[in-house]
Amino acid sequence: MNPVVEVKNLNVTFKGEEGSIFAVNDVSFDLAAGETLALLGESGCGKSVTLKSLMRLHPMHKTQIEGQVLVEGQDVLKMKSKALSEMRGKTVSMVFQEPMLAFDPVFTVGDQIAESVMRHERISYKDARQRALEMLDRVRIPSAAKRLDAYPHEMSGGMRQRAMIALALACKPRVLLADEPTTALDATVQIQVLLLLKELQRELGMSMIFVTHDVGVAIEVADRTAVMYAGRIIEQGPVQAVLSKPWHPYTQGLLGATVHPGMDRNQALPAIPGAPPQLIRRIDECAFAPRCAQASSRCLSPLPSVNTLTPRWTRCIHADVSQA
């Protein structure tokens, strides 16, 4: 089966007055129909930048994007602006971390959902509002008919995120991009929204790319995971395999440093020393080497390319990939 999304050798560089930031470096992955991929990593690792590239949401004049982003066989990076806005919201849709900033504060939630449906399906306002109502119902917003005329600020955080999901799914996209959609929510609300997303994904048969820094969230939603560090995917594979037997020392370190139940309270946490590097130059060697206990001199020369088409791979040259 052909993948719905194929990203090949994606490079994203931001041009600033004080030099360039090499935010994403040689990122490749694909996504099958109905599949969920979690992009896992810490702040500044390039996970959100990668996600935004899939819809070309970066400011044009400041960003240099290279590589290929194929959505249903079409290269997003080469699309004309008309095809691009046709694709956004219809084929690929996005849910953001902060729904208050993603909604327009001066229009009601119902109208914003209806606008998107009218734009893509060319139906009347009345029908579009009917669809908006169905969607609000579907994401289980209580008394949806009343909420249709609510402004974003009149909703609570959890409800606003549900409305955001309703908006994103209103045109039944093939791919949903979710950028930390539950990070700003409280624990009891986070789990509601995660389970809702999983359920809707099954119903609509869509694919999902889920950006998160939370290992637990990745385990909960994803089939596969790609772990990012300093602008690169450093390890990729089935979520179970990667997170139970990580190959890359960074993934191992990240999992070790994450506090989880049943840890020995009298033992110090196995923290990773140091901090991630600044991305002010293109890093071709292993970016994790300065923090890595297993690093050797070979890690400091440009890393060999890896076959990203295998189900599971890592960039670490020292990883013992025999034990899966």
Binding site: E42, S43, R140, P142, S143, K146, S156, G157, G158, M159, D186, A187, T188, V189, Q190, I191, Q192, L194, L195, H213, D214, V215, G216, V217, I219, E220, V239, Q240, L243, S244, G253, L254, G256, A257, T258, V259, H260, P261, M263, R265, A268, L269, P270, A271, I272, P273, A275
Partner: protein, 342 residues
């Protein structure tokens, strides 16, 4: 053993909006009769969702916000801005605070050294000595003094800035440190470094921590005792192992259960609560949790449950508990099915 810090019936209501005569039209019930004790050398974790009053409680303790009611005493000495109580300035020598936003809590125009040496000078330490201590503390929190002393906050990473904030809090040698989401904004790999540092400092300086966080795993790791808050009230408290293994309050149970498993392959059966935490402007009558509680009965909407002993120092406020005065009434009532809250 007597408690180091004792808090009794702490209360804070924030008036919002004003009518024609300047009277408040609405009141946010931020903190409602919160009482607890912390013994020397222990860590009390305070957990709860946004708006539950955990940060307000911290600010009330420091008198960054003036409490409406309540008593705060350290080693039996009562502090406050009321006649007959010891002055708040003395309280702040014994209790210091580290905030979530490491950047906003440092003065951008002061160097790291100036920031750390500022407090002790206010409290009467000579400048030379204060600066010397600042250097020692920087070294102690893992920042090389010769590198960092002349730097400004914007030149540091988030983890480094939080180390500076910890050093500053320790500069006036407090006994109690309130950590209000102090590691929440940090990435996991850096968070582990700072948590280790906090454990080391606690032993070295014999500190007592109040650890406020929404991260239930971190609270379990670092705390000796835990207090769970919901809409301004304490719903459950007790030793960490007992409370996490055997939560007595339905809210605590749902809250602890809502954390996704950190190990792959363990699928969980989640207790999914309906709706969001309600607004503290008009908290529900009776038990404040009853509109979201699957065990709620008629009495829960009418009467506030009393806080009763579960076992040892483990306490909770729920009619379901056998120790509750109205437990028999609760048992006899039919369960009410309730519509999801709007």
């Amino acid at each position: 053993m007597s408690a180091l810090l004792r808090v009794q019936d702490l209360k804070k209501h924030f008036p919002i909006g004003k009518d024609l005569f300047g009277r408040p039209t609405q009141v946010v019930h931020a903190v409602e009769s919160v009482s607890f004790e912390v013994e020397k050398g222990r860590t009390l974790g305070i957990v709860g969702e946004s708006g539950c009053g955990k940060s307000t409680t911290a600010r009330l303790l420091m008198h960054l916000i003036e409490p409406d009611e309540g008593r705060i005493s350290i080693r039996g000495k009562e502090f406050g801005n009321i006649g007959g109580r010891h002055p708040v300035a003395q309280l702040r020598r014994q209790m210091q605070m580290v905030f979530q936003d490491s950047y906003a809590s440092l003065n951008p125009r002061l160097t790291i050294e100036d920031s750390i040496a500022f407090g002790p000078q206010i409290h009467g330490v000579s400048e030379t000595l204060a600066r010397q201590q600042a250097r020692d503390l920087l070294d102690r929190v893992g920042l090389n003094p010769s590198v960092f002393i002349r730097r400004y906050p914007h030149e540091l990473s988030g983890g480094q800035r939080q180390r500076v904030n910890i050093a500053r809090a320790l500069a006036i040698k407090p006994e109690i440190v309130i950590l209000d989401e102090a590691v929440s904004a940090l990435d996991k790999s850096v968070q582990a470094q700072v948590l280790n540092l906090l454990s080391d400092l606690k032993k070295e300086f014999e500190l007592t921590y109040l650890f406020i966080s929404h991260d239930l795993n971190v609270v379990q790791y670092i705390s000796d005792d835990v207090m769970v808050m919901y809409l301004g009230q304490v719903v459950e408290s007790g030793p960490v192992a007992q409370l996490y293994e055997n939560p007595a309050h339905p809210y605590t149970r749902a809250l602890l259960n809502s954390v996704p498993a950190q190990t792959p392959g363990q699928s969980k059966n989640y207790i999914v609560l309906e709706g969001d935490p309600p607004n503290p402007i008009a908290p529900p009558k009776g038990c404040r949790f009853h509109p979201r509680c699957q065990f709620a009965k008629a009495i829960c909407a009418e009467k506030e449950p009393d806080t009763v002993k579960v076992s040892g120092s483990h306490k909770a406020a729920c009619f379901k508990l056998p120790g509750s005065a109205d437990h028999q009434t609760y048992i006899r009532l039919q369960e009410v099915s309730h519509e999801p809250r709007c």
